[in-house]
């Protein structure tokens, strides 16, 4: 049996195991080990596996994951979401669809301190969906805006997915964070425009319902209530941008800052803080276990030579750079219908990254593209995790309405991808300015 055949069997076996609900880490690790052993023998496979756990779990770069996760957990526990939503409502007061736009704005701001999409969707659905339903918004618009807004959590830095990508693709976390910022802002605007058009379409351009805002709800007062979120974002991202801190240092300062601000402002108690530490450890252990297993799988993929064969095959059929990127996008969108985001990234990056690099694309640019493709998977059926998160919190909206509501918002990330392909500087300009 050739190494290519072993590689293809391994990949197919991996997808089957994952779909048979074997934990992603276990499937990656077992397929990686057995595949490596089939190519190079048991002794070498054992030797390869022996170094991986300690080597990969004790890298300095990996430390950004627990520290930024802690910052996000504290932000979620401190109930920042309602203040952010209120500020958004005041900012967009009077506009048609203002509650949906405020929800997207609040999600973007929340994403600036929390790197998880599902956490952002869960938090925002508790705050903004009841308000929208009270104001007689169509339920599908309420669900769609929150589902789409939630995806901003993994694009706007700090992003958990970008941190994992940085580790497996050996790229700079700082450059990736900076690269994702402008696309994050553009996507926020595109989602807001979608919400505006969708509101007009669903309500036949009805006027915005009278809200509960009074004359005392001024822009200055509302933003004064979220100064700590702005401060945290400015210090962490600003510190990285100006070269004051490494990403790990920024994450440590952000995490401590979030804890202290939460305690001083009485947003949470010591016991809440302890809970955040426990929650972070649980999440980080799951993630690091997957990273370790994906390293085993990557060694196997390298041994199979699948990437170089794929590059040869793609160049052989004369597919140009744009053709390759379109094919990769289609592959990820299809896979996103069945696979969870991090798992999908860890399975595919060892194969797709060399292909993308061979066509002259930048690995930082590809990292941001990958996150946007994962975002699409988060809001399209049947595996859209954000849709399930909303369904779990807002029982009054049927899953069918949630699916229907999220569909128009899929246009925004696809449009952003087209913009990124046409103008790569959207992604690459800011990292080039890093101090």
């Amino acid at each position: 049996m050739t190494t290519t055949t072993i590689g293809i069997i391994g990949l197919a076996g991996l997808v089957v195991l994952i779909l048979l609900r074997i934990p992603v880490a276990v499937a990656l690790g077992l397929v990686g080990f057995l595949g490596y052993a089939a190519i190079d023998g048991w002794d070498r496979a054992n030797l390869m596996v022996s170094g991986v756990p300690v080597e990969f779990a004790s890298t300095y770069t990996l430390s950004v994951v627990p520290l930024f996760t802690l910052m996000g957990a504290v932000a979620a526990s401190a109930g920042l979401s309602s203040d952010l939503f209120h500020a958004g409502r005041v900012l967009f007061r009077g506009a048609r669809g203002s509650l949906a736009i405020a929800s997207i704005f609040a999600s973007a701001m929340f994403g600036a301190v929390c790197g998880s999409s599902v956490a952002t969707a869960l938090t925002m659905s508790r705050v903004s969906i009841p308000e929208m339903l009270r104001a007689k918004y169509p339920p599908q618009l309420a669900a769609g805006a929150v589902a789409a807004g939630g995806t901003l959590g993994i694009l706007i830095p700090p992003s958990l997915i970008l941190m994992i990508y940085a580790i497996i693709a050996q790229q700079s976390v700082a450059r990736l964070f900076m690269a994702a910022l402008i696309p994050g802002i553009i996507l926020t605007v595109l989602y807001s425009i979608t919400a505006l058009i969708y509101y007009r379409w669903l309500t036949n351009n009805a006027p915005e319902p009278q809200g509960a805002l009074g004359p005392q709800d001024t822009l200055v007062r509302s933003f004064a209530r979220i100064w700590h979120v702005i401060l945290l974002f400015a210090v962490t991202l600003g510190g990285i941008y100006f070269g004051w801190f490494t990403p790990t240092e920024a994450a440590a300062i952000g995490a401590l800052g979030a804890i202290l601000l939460g305690l001083v402002l009485r947003r949470h108690t010591i016991s809440d803080t302890v809970g955040c530490f426990f929650e972070t450890i649980s999440l980080v252990s799951s993630l690091v276990f997957i990273v370790i297993a994906s390293a085993v799988f990557s060694y196997f993929v390298v041994q199979t030579g699948l990437s170089s064969q794929l590059i040869g095959a793609v160049k052989g059929i004369g597919l140009g750079a744009i053709g390759v990127i379109v094919a990769v996008c289609v592959l990820y969108i299809v896979m996103g219908a069945f696979l969870e985001g991090i798992g999908m990234m860890l399975i595919t990056v060892p194969i797709t990254l060399p292909l993308i690099l061979s066509f002259g694309f930048d690995p930082i640019w590809f990292g941001v593209l990958l996150v946007i493709l994962i975002e699409v998977g988060l809001i399209h059926p049947p595996m859209g995790m954000n849709l399930f998160a909303i369904n779990a919190v807002s029982k009054e909206i049927s899953i069918f309405d949630i699916y229907k509501g999220a569909a128009p918002f899929l246009i925004a990330p696809l449009l952003l991808i087209v913009l990124m392909i046409a103008f790569p500087q959207i992604v690459l300009w800011l990292p080039a300015q890093l101090h």
Partner: protein, 163 residues
């Protein structure tokens, strides 16, 4: 106290230790930044401390995750399968988890012994590296034990439409 309760308490204690490691990681990094900026005296070995603590916080959470059966997985197939088939798949997943962890645990032993024999140390702090391998081994064994508890529990439970 039953074996299951003892394992649950051990798993909780491991998570608590992981949380302590996270506190140490955060505070040592913060101290390093402040001391470097204000007094030009960075914390010696800050990178070593962070690297060791990230390993502790990553592995010490594993036993409790396995006990709660909270590993990241794709469960899209759940709604299409009858209870018995689903229960069989859950059992298969637990067995596969134990096999993979056993594989990792068995292979961590050799570098741990080598590290102890040759006196490997972290470059800045001079801290020996074999305890890191030992902690990894301990966490993997504890995680295997807690996974075994879940496996036994699931084998005793009769599959129902809601399980």
């Amino acid at each position: 106290m039953t074996l299951e309760t003892a394992l649950a308490r051990t798993a909780r204690a491991c998570t608590a230790l992981g949380a302590v490691a996270l506190v140490v990681m955060m505070l040592s990094t913060d101290y390093d930044v402040v001391a470097r900026a204000l007094f030009s005296k960075p914390l010696n070995g800050a990178v070593d401390i962070v690297e060791m603590m990230v390993l502790c916080s990553a592995f010490l959470g594993l036993p409790e995750i396995c006990l709660r059966d909270e590993q990241i997985r794709v469960d899209v197939i759940d709604s299409f399968l009858p209870p018995r088939a689903l229960a069989a798949l859950k059992t298969l997943a637990l067995v596969a988890t134990i096999v993979f962890m056993a594989l990792l645990a068995a292979n961590v032993t050799r570098p741990m012994i080598d590290s102890w024999r040759f006196g490997d140390i972290k470059p800045d702090t001079g801290f020996p590296t074999y305890p890191l391998f030992a902690l990894t081994l301990f966490s993997l064994i504890a995680a295997m034990a807690t996974t075994a508890v879940v496996l036994v529990r699931s084998l005793r439970t009769k599959p129902t439409a809601n399980s």
